[in-house]
């Protein structure tokens, strides 16, 4: 299974080994792990919500786009949902290719599109509950939209 959404943690090494299993022509494996930052102690936890069904389908679609664009020998995407503590893993992307440039670019592409196109939402639970007057939902970042745009294919 290339795409998984789960509450449990993941093990990057295990996913790399699974992806490389039986293939001897892989020259480059890139992993990206996104973690929950503690924002200097401000954050008590993140809560990750998703749209079941659409989230899996959307990630699958992004993976297929990456596979069309780069000669990949394997891709794995795991996105966690539920309560996630500071320092814990949120997302894992693994890409494997014969050459490093394809593996790097595909991993960055996948992360940029995951950020802006996959139906997940982050809510912050603050350590100082008195400060928590805001609703806590993380706002979408213009920088992420910009990051996504750079992958547009030139006509």
């Amino acid at each position: 299974m290339k795409v998984r959404i789960q509450t449990e943690d993941f093990d990057a090494n295990e996913e790399c080994a699974r992806l490389a299993d039986g293939k001897n022509n892989i020259g480059a494996i890139v992993t990206f792990t996104g973690l929950c930052r503690d924002e200097e102690g401000r954050l008590s936890a993140l809560e990750l919500e998703h749209y079941p069904g659409m989230a899996e389908a959307k990630i699958q679609e992004i993976v297929e786009q990456a596979e069309t664009r780069w000669p990949l020998q394997g891709v794995t995407v795991i996105h966690r949902v539920g309560r996630i503590n500071p320092g814990a893993n949120i997302v894992l992307v693994v890409t494997a290719s014969a050459h490093r440039r394809a593996a790097f670019e595909a991993a960055e592409f996948l992360m940029d599109f995951l950020k802006t196109s996959a139906p997940f939402w982050k809510k912050e639970h603050l350590a100082d509950t008195k400060a928590a007057t805001e609703t806590g939902w993380v706002s979408a970042q213009d920088a992420d939209d910009e990051a996504t745009k750079r992958w547009q294919l030139k006509e």
């Binding site: 659409m54 997302v91 196109s117 139906p119 997940f120 939902w137 979408a140």
Partner: protein, 83 residues
Amino acid sequence: MKIYYFAWVRERTGRSDETVTLPEGVTTVAELIDWLKTRGPEFEFAFENERFVRAAVDQQLVSHDTSLKDVNEVAFFPPMTGG
């Protein structure tokens, strides 16, 4: 038709999903939003800034002028912040 609400749209409407029968004259996402807003202050609150609310129709992200013809499932949510 099934409607899903996520993140702060869910919190504001006070529900994660519901099944509705569309009244006569509601044929697009925008018209659905207008109708939902007549159902109470929690819906007015949820859709007070419509341009911040994204819509998916049968799990495809769409613009608010999209038709609801033959649609099984509509979802409303804020811009996505995964990854």
